[in-house]
């Protein structure tokens, strides 16, 4: 099924509340501001600060 555009439109970074976007492999959402990756597992975006992965530059 994948994460729908409708859902992406209503999600934001839980940390800074800023915009997020899909990563290239479409298995995570990236907040450029906080440099965090929120994973998508079994089509569920996991928007929890504790679970987010820092992105290496």
């Amino acid at each position: 099924m994948g994460v729908s555009q409708e859902l992406l439109d209503i999600l934001a970074c839980p940390k800074c509340k800023g915009d997020i976007h899909l990563n290239e492999s479409k298995n995570g959402l990236i907040c450029d501001n906080c440099k965090l990756l929120y994973e998508i597992k079994d089509d569920i975006p996991i928007m929890l600060i504790d679970e987010a992965k820092p992105i290496e530059e």
């Binding site: 859902l7 439109d9 209503i10 970074c13 996991i46 928007m47 929890l48």
Partner: protein, 314 residues
């Protein structure tokens, strides 16, 4: 109509999402998968929903989520998320209750201010009444909870009323009386009784088993949420019970008959926070909402039994 359901992967929330989808609503579900009981159970609660058109799900906590965005276009909020459990609410774990039951509710209400929301239905609890001998429990009785959980549920109910009075958020609180049925939480009595019976283990009961509850089937609870959305006046509180009160010992007899297992019953000490009896006065819910519970305890237990047999095979 677009609805936001909090606690969507929980016992009641998942049933409510299915009902709303069935009604043709668009549903956004949010749940943080708290570790009160295993994540795998909650995942299986929403497994059927994930393939439904019109259902979106996000794993997030109300405390940190960007609620403003999640609420875009939402007309109905069904606030079912909470840290449940009366007995676990003492001591250090109380913070989990203040965070998920009080703070989370306040943040959701705050986010609902100045939005075109038609109704905000809050899942309150009969535990707000405490251990009263003045039965049935009426909405006008003075609430005096006997567990920290009950205190947290009552605090959130007050917040709902405040946000209606001060900011016109159209809140309604439904005081659920012990809910059961398919997907019942694994810490709840019927779920444990059935599981123990099927595992050939003795059944453990807190107290003498003569305590009684106004058990309410989950399908009646879900229906009450819809009626509250459609008909309730804002700022009000309603008792939502199952329509009859029965003792745990009577339930155990029904379970014996249903399962055909002649298990041993072990009575243990009463747990702090448990009340002796609950019984809902439903005059108001009947008159204002037209609420009329349909599922008898026998029928509801049969449905839970069918589910639990399947659940244990997984």
């Amino acid at each position: 109509m677009k609805a936001l359901v909090t606690g969507a992967a929980g016992f009641i929330g998942s049933h409510l999402c299915e009902y709303l989808i069935e009604k043709g609503c668009e549903v956004v579900g949010i749940d943080s998968f708290t570790d009160y009981y295993p994540r795998s159970i909650k995942e299986s609660n929403i497994a059927g929903l994930k393939d439904c058109g019109g259902f979106e799900f996000v794993e997030a906590s109300l405390i940190e989520a960007s609620l403003a965005k999640l609420l875009e276009g939402v007309e109905a909020v069904f606030h079912q998320s909470a840290q449940a459990g009366v007995r676990a609410s003492w001591g250090e774990s109380f913070k989990i209750y203040t965070d998920n039951n009080i703070l989370a509710t306040q943040m959701l209400l705050e986010a609902c201010k100045d939005r075109p929301i038609k109704k905000f239905v809050y899942a309150s609890s009969s535990s707000v009444y405490g251990d009263t001998t003045d039965l049935p429990m009426r909405e006008t009785s003075l609430p005096a909870p006997v567990s920290p959980y009950g205190v947290s549920k009552l605090a959130a109910e007050h917040l709902c009323r405040l946000y209606f009075k001060n900011f016109s958020v159209p809140t309604v609180s439904l005081r659920y009386f012990t809910v059961y049925g398919a997907r019942q939480r694994p810490d709840m009595a019927f779920h444990r009784f059935f599981r123990w019976a099927l595992e050939g283990k003795p059944i453990e009961v807190y107290g003498d088993g003569k305590q009684s509850r106004d058990f309410t089937h989950v399908s009646d609870i879900v229906e009450a949420n819809w009626l509250a959305f459609e008909k309730a006046s804002s700022g009000e509180v309603f008792n939502i019970g199952g329509g009859s009160r029965i003792t745990l010992n009577e339930v155990i007899e029904i379970i014996k008959e249903m399962t055909g297992v002649n298990f041993e019953v072990r009575y243990k000490d009463v747990q702090k926070g448990d009340v002796r009896h609950t019984s809902a006065d439903m005059t108001k819910a009947k008159e204002v909402l037209g609420y009329d519970p349909k599922i008898s305890v026998e029928e509801g237990l049969r449905r839970e039994y069918e589910w639990i047999k399947d659940f244990m095979r997984r």
